[in-house]
Amino acid sequence: MSFYAVFWREMVTLKRTFFKFFASRLVSPLLYLIAFGWGLGRGIKMDGGNYMEYVVPGIIALSAMSTSFNAVGTSLNISRLYNKTLEEYLIAPVTTQAFVLGKALSGVARGLIASLIILGLAFIFGAHLILNGWFFLVIILTCFLFSTLGIIAAMTINSHEDMGNFNTFIILPMSFLCGTFFSPNQLPDTVAFFIEILPLTHASLCLREIARNGNILPISLGVLVVYTLALYAGAVLVMQRVRD
């Protein structure tokens, strides 16, 4: 399948810059863990457990989101607007579906690595989490859906600067508000309602429930699946309209 060619290219460059990628994915979770897990969170009990164990699934969710969104979105935006390397894929006999799939899977690969780094850090910090297949399924869905969101953003936003703005105004607020560091129930009702529509909220809730009890939240999982399918379809659509 030709999606693999697209994915292969991303893995070649990931391997080449692995150390840099690894180091860059280490810094912000480490700071979050120190600030919110150790510093602010010491002694705080959240739903009967310690705050470190509460916050780690949230950090994984937000890191999966920002890693996959940026890895796919930024590079595709540059490839379309500046390098023009996107043309190489457009003149090749590769279907739009295969292209989107290959790109999204590369975002999943990077997001999974970022998540594993956080799990490693959490282990060092002494957090106890239950990890099972559901846990990784939720991470994969989260990465996949934010990768495809990255594709949609990259294909519709016409400057590198505005890609940055999308990050500042959409991705960054989500990473703090979507059940990552505290429960959305603590927010005013209307805000909480809005927050609960967002996919990252369900990723955080799901990961937290699995990490604590090993159980999947079926509705949240369903929400993630629906977002994944809808954003994949959306990404295919915007890719098909790339030719002017």
Binding site: R9, K84, E88, I91, P93, R243, D244
Partner: protein
């Protein structure tokens, strides 16, 4: 006929980039689209290679509409701008192309080696492309376009911005490719390039084809050598059929003058009665 273009048109808002273009290109022909910047050469190539959707008209490649996916296997494309993947090595750029065309593994390796040798960058196969000179990049782009054994090669200004020596290298590559049976459609604004390389030339201006013929036919319309001299009223031009005649003409000149080969600009001036860019 390999390429049949009928009334092909592309509009960007009010601007007509390509205007009712009719053109037929034969198998094994090297054809040049010649024209100043903005003439519509790139837009034409982009429509033929499915990067841009025509506003009107039709183009067939090997009797199939260019919007059909089957055409993609028949064509190789070297765009005007550098669009190699700078994060990959030369080898990986070619491998990616081969993989996108689903070439089998063993064939892929052999083809990469063959093409890297052909364009003389085999010694730097495993270096990142970002370290390459302009000429090497252009040669690698040609190799990449050839990976999947296309029967038609599109080259958009393959030698613009290259030094004369590198330009000759590229010409040599194109000639050798054509000798193996490849049909070549290239664009250029150097008439000597068209003259040396091409069987036929089409001159484009403002989206239209304004002249079509062999280089000899087109050159004959103005002459082969031009004398530029600088008088009180600005630069004047006089055309001659041979350098000998031009030399005779300037033998009694005392002021500054320049003898050079006829350029596209001269042909263009003669055909349209105005200068490029006016």
């Amino acid at each position: 006929m390999v390429i049949q273009i009928n009334k092909l048109t592309k509009k960007y808002g009010d601007l007509t980039a390509v205007d009712n273009l009719d053109l037929h290109i034969q198998k094994k022909e090297v054809f040049a689209l010649l024209g100043p910047n903005g003439a519509g050469k790139t837009t034409t190539i982009r429509m033929l290679t499915m990067l841009t959707i025509p506003t009107g008209g039709k183009a067939l490649i090997n009797a199939q509409d260019v919007t059909s996916n089957k055409v993609k296997k028949e064509i190789g494309v070297v765009p005007q701008h550098m669009n190699l993947d700078l994060e990959l090595t030369a080898w990986e750029n070619l491998e990616l192309h081969g993989r996108l065309h689903r070439m089998p593994r063993d064939k892929l390796k052999a083809r990469i080696n063959e093409l890297l040798t052909f364009v003389e960058i085999n010694s730097r196969a495993f270096e990142l492309v970002s370290n390459f000179s302009g000429g090497m990049k252009r040669r690698l782009m040609i190799a990449r376009a050839l990976m999947h054994y296309p029967s038609i090669l599109f080259l958009d200004e393959p030698t613009t911005g290259l030094d004369p020596q590198t330009r000759r290298k590229i010409w040599d590559l194109i000639r050798r490719l054509n000798a193996t049976g490849l049909t070549v459609l290239l664009t250029t604004h150097y008439i000597e390039e068209a003259q040396i390389l091409c069987h036929r030339v089409g001159i484009m201006d403002k989206g239209r084809l304004i002249a079509l013929g062999t280089p000899q036919e087109l050159m004959k319309k103005v002459g082969e050598v031009v004398v530029e001299f600088f008088g009180g009223t600005g630069t004047s031009y006089k055309f001659f059929a041979s350098r000998q005649q031009a030399l005779e003409y300037v033998s009694h000149f005392r002021g500054d003058f320049l003898i050079r080969e006829v350029s596209l600009e001269d042909v263009f001036v003669e055909i349209t009665g105005r200068k490029v860019g006016d």
